[in-house]
Amino acid sequence: MAKPPKPTRASPARLIFGDLWEYDPAPETADPKLRARYELFINGEFVRPKAGKYFDSINPATERKLAEIALAGPADVDAAYRAATGAFKAWAALPGRERGKYLFRIARLLQDRAREFAVAETLDGGKPIKESRDFDVPMAAAHFFYHAGWADKLEYVAPGRTVAPVGVVGQVIPWNFPLLMLAWKLAPALAMGNCVVLKPAETTSITALKLAEILQDAGLPPGVVNFVTGAAATGAAVMGHPAAAKVAFTGSTEVGKAIMRQLAGTDRRMTMELGGKAANIVFDDAPLDQAVEGIVNGIFFNQGHVCCAGSRLLVQEGVAERVIAKLKARIRMLRVGDPLDKNTDLGAINSKAQLSTIRRLVAAGVREGATIYQPPVKLPEKGYYYPPTLFTHVTQSHRVAREEIFGPVLAILTFRTVDEAIEKANNTAYGLSAGVWTDKGSRILRMSTELKAGVVWANTFNRFDPASPFGGYKESGFGREGGRQGLLDYTSHA
């Protein structure tokens, strides 16, 4: 190919990402319709906690109090289980198509109030409004729709076998996707005919209690779903209650292990969706700009508060330098700040405690000799924020490559061969997800069988669908959510 000789240049060419065209603030203004105080939702009604205690829910973007949330004690959890147990027989006996009607109603009511829920979710959790608007709320509705469709077709869930609900289910969910995790838990349980006692995360209870309003509007029979709010003690009471036939937990591996210890020796069924340290593997034949985009989606989506986040980048040595250069340029374009601004890419860190965890692990990375890169960003003065962060020169023994940081921090490692990539990717206690970037289809197929991860994405990352089961290997947990497999975890077989 005839090419003109490349001119030599005095100084290297550089792109200017300045302030020539600054975007004006574009805040989402829909009314989140918050109450000043949220009670417990037991037996179809909002009830005061028996001990009369409340705790504050804080907006992590401003550190201001949003609402007071009822603190459920053991007596309240007991009341919730009594309500669920009382409702179970009639709910399980309803024809599937009738239960499906309720689920369709919930899904539609959630869509009707989508903007309101998106703003509430962003205020309470700190995630960018574009994510709560375009991902959390629509996906939550999609899960209710999907499982509504299953409710009258349960005979096809396990062909040849008769399926039945397991009974009352205790569920505890995390703060990273409050409404979506709630939908993942509620929808399959209800479709199958179970009743539920659910505890939202302490820092993000509001959208669950707003959903309780929708459950009332949908006419869901009292007691079928009960929400008890509180912190770790409430969660332990929900998980440990003798009336629960099954418990489902999403959260950290540490807490998951504690629950398993607590329930060892009982006949309680369990599903656990725990931590992760996913490898995102980029081969030298990958479309690099799209891989970089996928890396960004993988680790900076929801400030990295994602159990399946692609927090370890494994990049083939031949393209490592170019990928890292492109990645640095790309993350300079990320807009960090007010989560309610429609142009914000990275919002607030969910809580002060999480912010200090991130700081502590990043400090460990620096101390252990990894090279840190943070683009110049101006963080708001008030609120919990952390800039997008890259670590290069990371090895398998660095803590930032081994421990789940749950923040916008990417550890970058390199590899030479396919085998080495697989070995490094699997060299972790976790096994929730992985990503593979290559133009070669056969390599994708091989990687997907050899990577010990519940989800392997090829040439994309962080894609979800209600029909696709999600769950982990090893210390990332067991059980699946979504799809037919997810329903089986809420089923007893006869």
Binding site: M1, A2, K3, P4, K6, P7, R9, P12, A13, L15, I16, F17, G18, D19, L20, W21, E22, Y23, D24, P25, A26, K130, D134, D285, P287, L288, D289, Q290, A291, E293, G294, M333, K342, N343, D439, N459, T460
Partner: protein, 312 residues
């Protein structure tokens, strides 16, 4: 070295410049469409888009009368003096003299399509002669089409040599190289053709998506492939190449999305008519309508803007 088979030309070039994943790049550009541009940022963007417009008429029925009204619109899009003139008028070679006589002395340039636009299916001598005559008639800028047949057949040096000859024929005129993306079909081909063209043109010349004469023209996707190619070429060689999406950009909202892509991919140095243009006709009146809305707080009826230019 293995023998260089002519049939492997595309694979070899892709190996050198990298490939494009269709799903990934379309997800990337979808993010540009969720940006929310308000208030002063919106006014700035709209005015920038006006100043980047190549106001175009390319029809068999074009007459001196039509060119006159086009040029007047280009010189003074609206009464409001804070609204800039457009970048250029874009016409067929037969209309260059007339257009030049009308805009001469202003900031508005005369661009002319040449090289047997839109198909390019005539011999190179004829195409070059057309370029020379348009330049002699006063064209400041030439919009050429590449030899798509030669590109798809893997005859890359022929494509490059022809572009290089047109560069020579242009003299001082700025060149815009039309890839005709809809005939190249894949993003990989668009990226490859961008690199071939950029290797043959000068700093300040442009690559351009389309003629506007086929079914699919400028999209955020093919714009993104081309501006990423421009970015990679610039970082590699230091040579800044301009970009012109053409055809299909009809609304102010679309044009702002293209500008967001430029801002977030190429940066501030490309937010200028010297390096980014819109090939469009009906876009201008929508930009003006939105600017009037920002100025007065109310939408004006379409007929309150001169020249409903709905061709191209």
């Amino acid at each position: 070295m293995p023998p260089r088979l002519p049939t492997a030309a595309h694979a070899r070039l892709r190996d050198e410049i990298g490939s494009v994943d269709q799903v990934g790049i379309e997800e990337r550009v979808a993010k540009f469409t969720t940006r929310s541009i308000k208030k002063q940022a919106k006014v700035w963007g709209l005015k920038m888009a006006v100043s980047m417009t190549d106001l175009t008429t390319l029809e068999g029925k074009d007459t001196p009368g039509k060119i006159e009204s086009l040029c007047q619109k280009a010189l003074r899009p609206i009464e409001d003096p804070s609204v800039p003139t457009v970048a250029a008028v874009c016409v067929y070679p037969a209309m260059v003299k007339k257009a030049k006589s009308l805009v001469d002395g202003s900031k508005v340039k005369v661009a002319s399509v040449a090289t047997a636009f839109p198909s390019g299916q005539t011999n190179i001598r004829t195409r070059l002669a057309e370029v020379r005559s348009a330049v002699a008639d006063g064209a400041d800028e030439i919009d050429m089409v590449i030899n798509r047949g030669a590109f798809l057949a893997g005859e890359f040096s022929r494509v490059e040599d022809e572009i290089a000859e047109v560069v020579e024929a242009c003299g001082a005129a700025v060149l815009k190289v039309i890839l005709e993306v809809s005939e190249l079909e894949t993003y990989d081909n668009i990226r490859a053709a961008s690199f071939l063209a950029m290797g043959a043109i000068r700093a300040g010349d442009f690559i351009k998506t389309s003629t506007g004469k086929t079914t699919l023209n400028a999209t955020l996707g093919n714009n993104q492939v081309m501006i990423e190619a421009i970015r990679d070429f610039y970082l590699d060689t230091g040579i800044p190449i301009g970009m012109k999406p053409a055809g299909g950009i009809k609304t102010a909202k679309q044009s702002l999305q293209f500008l967001i892509a430029v801002k977030e991919t190429l940066g501030d140095a490309w937010l200028t008519p010297k390096r980014y243009r819109f090939g469009a006709s009906s876009l201008l009146n929508d930009l003006l309508r939105q600017l009037e809305k920002e100025r007065t707080g109310a939408y004006q009826a379409p007929y309150s803007f001169s020249d409903a230019t709905d061709s191209y």
